[in-house]
């Protein structure tokens, strides 16, 4: 049976859950399709579920763990009556009103829910390297989650690929276990914030492999090394590591909306006048539409915008 809702939120990171809190308090009884368990950032709670300490979310003077912060967001949404459903949206039809959404729980035969309005908060997911050996050795030394897997690399050398805040956060976390952490970055300078750079440079367990591009993850049954080449000299080197952690950035989760919502040239969903998408009644917030800031607090802020925009849009249509 297809349920009917005024508001369906797709996604449950900071953006989706803030939209849920606001729209629940506006008595719109939102249904939140929060996703399904996974070991990538494509999971209930989003990217913060794979992080450790969050030190820049205002209000938490001493920091808070990412999963703990998201549990609080979720509890707050539930407290005001948001209907949180642990399933993944598999298909949407935005061509007619009400809109229709299919889910893994509801199956492919009929839409699980029809919605007067939709808030898209599907976020972004981690990019993989796409080099030989990576897929084959995933779970055998190649990891997408330092907080899950760092434990297995006690007293072993590991590499972190990437140069942003996520990469340095993982590198610093891994110094708790690993004998040495090599940060492999394709440029001569990092993209990460100054405070993270200062901490990484101060650690005697972190070394840097500059101007280095990964060619292959080596190993038969588990990782034995990482083949890289120098972008300027072309020289090839083998890094002797037992673990490879990939943190080279994210891409927006837009596949559900291909051909239905206008996208920017860089692949993010386009917004107009606040959180409006190219389809009236469909609003967009969080990292799926933000290629610039990509912070928990900006995602939460945009989720609030989407909820207010939805409320006004429904009002204007007499609902």
């Amino acid at each position: 049976m297809t349920e009917e809702r005024d508001v369906v939120v797709i996604g449950s990171g900071p953006a989706g859950l803030t939209a849920a809190i606001y729209s629940a308090r506006a008595r719109l009884a939102p249904m939140v399709l929060e996703g399904e368990p996974s070991s990538t950032s494509d999971q209930p709670g989003g990217q913060l579920m794979l992080t450790t300490e969050i030190e820049n979310y205002p209000g938490f003077v001493d920091g808070i763990l990412g999963p703990e912060l998201m549990a609080r967001f979720r509890d707050q949404a539930a407290r005001f009556g948001a209907d949180l459903v642990t399933t993944r949206a598999t298909r949407v039809d935005l061509s007619k009103e009400p809109f229709e959404v299919w889910t893994t729980a509801g199956g492919a035969d009929q839409p699980a829910v029809s919605a007067q309005s939709i808030i898209v908060a599907t976020g972004a997911q981690a990019l993989m390297l796409g080099v030989p050996g990576e897929d084959r050795l995933l779970g055998h030394g190649v990891s997408t989650c330092a907080t899950c897997d760092g434990f297995f690399f006690r007293d072993k050398p590991v590499a972190v690929v990437g140069g942003g805040d996520s990469a340095l956060e993982e590198a610093l976390f891994l110094t708790r276990f690993a004998s040495q952490v090599t940060v492999v970055h394709r440029r001569k300078e990092l993209r990460a914030s100054k405070i993270m750079q200062d901490r990484a440079f101060a650690s005697d367990r972190i070394v840097f492999e500059w101007d280095a591009v990964v060619d292959e993850v080596l190993g038969d049954s588990s990782v034995r090394g990482l083949a890289v080449h120098d972008v300027s000299s072309g020289e090839t080197r083998i890094l002797d590591v037992a673990g490879v952690f990939v943190a080279i950035g994210h891409r927006p989760n837009t596949a559900l909306f291909d051909g239905q919502l206008a996208m920017a040239d860089n692949g993010y969903i386009r917004t107009f006048e606040g959180s409006r998408s190219s389809v009236p009644g469909v609003f967009v917030c969080g990292d799926v539409q933000d290629s610039v800031y990509r912070q928990a607090v900006t995602a939460a802020g945009s989720g609030c915008m989407a909820a207010i925009d939805v409320e006004r849009w429904l009002e204007s249509r007499g609902r």
């Binding site: 368990p37 999971q43 893994t104 995933l138 434990f151």
Partner: protein, 108 residues
């Protein structure tokens, strides 16, 4: 996790997976692993619904390094499926219920 899912240890693991007359799916997990927490309710549902067809058990990797090393678990959650004590399948990383059921269907 509820009490319905038995916790195995280095000492009890072998006997448990060998003695069972149905396949045993063992969840290698730890307290500090976010995706492990999310998969726990999925496993409880499967344990309840597939009662008699499959047994679910869990093993805390922090406390049971021998078994964890023996099966070369290097990422959690990892689910190992045993039939008559023999390792049949390895599932690395959290999954939704439907996908997990699909992956173990061939062994039930």
């Amino acid at each position: 996790m509820s009490q319905s899912i038995p916790a195995l240890s280095d000492a009890t693991f072998d006997e448990h997976v060998t003695a069972a007359d149905v396949p045993v799916l063992v969840d290698f997990w730890a307290e500090w692993c976010g995706p492990c927490k999310m998969i726990a309710p999925v496993l409880e549902e499967i344990a309840a619904e597939q009662d008699g067809k499959i047994q679910i058990a869990k093993l805390n990797i922090d406390e049971n390094l021998d078994v964890t090393r023996r099966f070369e678990v290097m990422s959690i959650p990892t689910l190992l499926l045993f039939k008559d004590g023999e390792l049949q399948a390895r599932i690395v990383g959290a999954r939704g219920k439907a996908q997990l059921l699909q992956e173990i269907a061939a062994y039930l």
